[in-house]
Symmetry: C2
Subunit: 410 residues, 2 copies
């Protein structure tokens, strides 16, 4: 059985945390100076671990094993949210590095082939899961054209500035891989609440988004009588409130929906706003509640538009994600390893967050492993996990990786 080095694992996680550190959190959005520095650092670590490292034309870092035979791909992403936590993505990336090193150090596993990867822009500065979409061939030209970040920077400019404009883009070698494993913090409170240490992910919830655009008439907030107003923000508040009242009536037990982004123009206290935008995102493990949410949103918009005044336009977000199942065989290897290292302290569970494994699973059998998040907090500077949980997760992953590859050989 391969043995990971806990001190080395934690030291590398902390080194990565230092690149783009911001208090207890990390600010390392895709293609930022910190992100590219982290990717170059990672490529050097891959080389030191005996892998053949490269950074591809969208910023994916791949460490390719020099060993022959069927390989496992292991990894996650090293970019972060605009104000991100230190483990989201980073954990799975450093686990992969440590698994490679642990397998190389053990006589029984040193010939096994494990490739390590850090995908780019999982956190959607430009296109969510840009890197895994690119490597699996589902990144369309439409997704890349004219896409900009929140400050109006285009993807093309970001690639140029990161020095990647001329680098070739990798395509996944489907025949090479027995599977893809992604470890991640849970980013929710279920493991902590149930006292479990390992989550074996059985599926990833689907996700859809709608952008509502409200068009009214900008005007003076003192001289425009209420009856004459066409206030875009008033419509936004009403639609958001009514969605929050109506969705529970059609939701499934684990459905979630969020309106985390709103924009009001010109966003001044003394001006009746003439324009507003609201983003609605909703997730469930099956399609039926997602369809029901879309129908409710369409009904509310139609009702409000029928009244006149402000007009509301609803457009589907660029890239809806269907619910996906994780590979049963790979899940079984992870479950057995979890039972060996943490008997009775693991559970199967869906992932409420989307992950690169949801993209890669379309080409290569994929599975995921979760470790507990303290307080369920994530996408926040306060995100954290206990050192002992971090170490345990890596042990389970290394064990599962060895057993999957050994099984393939047998």
């Amino acid at each position: 059985m391969p043995r990971i080095d806990p001190a080395r694992l934690l030291a590398d996680l902390r080194t990565l945390r230092g690149i783009g550190a911001h208090g207890r959190g990390v600010v390392r959005p895709a293609f930022s100076a910190a992100d590219m520095e982290a990717r170059r650092w990672l490529a050097r670590r891959y080389q030191e671990a005996g892998l053949e490292a490269s950074i591809d034309g969208v910023g994916n870092v791949l460490g390719r094993s020099r060993h022959p035979g069927r390989a496992l791909l292991i990894g996650s992403h090293s970019d972060t949210q605009p104000t991100g936590g230190w483990l989201d993505g980073a954990l799975g990336v450093i686990y992969a590095l440590e698994v490679v090193r642990a397998l190389a150090a053990d006589a029984s596993t040193r010939e096994l082939a494990v490739d390590a990867v850090s995908f780019q822009d999982e956190e959607s500065r430009f296109v969510g899961c840009l890197g895994s979409r690119s490597i699996t061939g589902v990144l369309t030209a439409e997704m890349q054209e004219e896409v900009t970040d929140r400050d109006g920077v285009t993807l093309a400019d970001a690639l140029r500035q990161a020095g990647l404009a001329d680098a070739p883009r990798l395509r996944i070698e489907r025949e090479r891989y027995a599977g893809f494993l992604e470890a991640h913090i849970e980013q929710g409170p279920q493991l902590e609440d149930s006292g479990r240490k390992i989550g074996v992910v059985n599926g990833i919830v689907g996700l859809r988004g709608i952008r509502f655009v409200f068009r009214g008439q900008q005007n003076h907030a003192g001289t425009t009588m209420m009856a004459r107003r066409r206030d875009a923000a008033t419509s936004l508040y009403e639609l958001a409130y009514r969605i929050n009242r109506e969705f529970p009536k059609v939701a499934a037990g684990h459905s979630v929906w969020t309106m985390g982004r709103a924009r009001i123009e010109p966003n001044a206290t003394s001006i009746v706003p003439g324009y507003a935008e609201l983003d609605l995102q909703f997730r469930d493990a099956s399609e039926a509640p997602l369809d029901a949410f879309e129908a409710v949103a369409a009904r509310l918009v139609a009702e409000m538009n029928a009244r006149g005044g402000v007009s509301i336009e609803a457009t589907r977000a660029r890239a809806p994600i269907p619910p996906t199942r994780m590979d049963e065989g790979l899940q079984e290897h992870i479950a057995e390893a979890a039972e060996r290292h943490a008997p009775g302290k693991w559970q199967r569970m869906p992932s409420g967050a989307f992950h690169d494994a949801g993209i890669v699973s379309a080409c290569v059998p994929s599975a995921m492993l979760f470790i507990p998040s303290i307080g369920g907090i994530s996408h926040d500077f306060a995100e954290d996990s206990r050192d002992e949980d971090i170490v345990l997760g890596c042990r389970v992953l290394a064990d599962a990786a060895a057993s999957i590859l050994a099984c393939g050989r047998a």
Copy 2:
């Protein structure tokens, strides 16, 4: 009777429009390069008109008459909203210049003393009516300390950058003035709707503001179940919606309220927001509905806070404004002049917008004259008025000014 020069009036208005022009609108916020250029241009025009011009330590431009005796102060403000119209403020400023020139050109009025003024920051980049507050002595140290614009620039830095840090601040000479006259576009549709050309303002509505701060817990939008969420934006949408439902029940006929500014942190589609702000502003010509609105807002906040989850804190905006009455005697002079130039085509009316006259009236008898706004549109690039209405308004103002000063002599 003094005769204004319509071509000269319109030409100066268009020259001022050109400073900070942005399409059909103007971007000339207080202390911007465009604003300071406009103020220096105006000071030169005042000099050419025979006035003694100065720019004071907060950016007020004063053109002081060299004639002896009681004087009239006439003017408005030349700063604009972040995306402003070309006439808001500018109209009254150029009217004052033209009245000075018209009176100087007529034998019967050439000895009358008219001072012209452009106040600073009426539009509240830092402190609403900064200039008229400063000149009348009601600008407190508290209003200036740590006040910043929307980009975080401090007032002290803006004054330094505008070269005003060491300039003395003017104080109004109360004994000098028979009155203050401010002409302005109506910024609403009442004159246009009734086919009238001149509004004689009888009062300015009072204004209060409340800032609501929502504190919840930022979290991941996929993994945080609905029941566990403390979503600051959800609370914001609910409070705004309920205010819009409850306020009509206690409003007076001309009450208005606006929630034109909201801020959500971090304002990302995939993150449950942990922090939000909402600004509520409300206006009425009497205090009772304003008190009722405050009571309703306090009740809704208390109800929502009692539920737990997100906490809401409500704080009164910095500078509430009580309803103010315009001087009856000055109103009468403007009404008589309006009847001479536009018989039957004028009306008395309250001002729904606040103006510097609302500040100055505490020291010096004040009155206002409105001309129609096309479509009632203001605080927008599309803001406009017809040339013939602009010319008529200036004729009425010049006539009223001459009659007020002649009356004071008699």
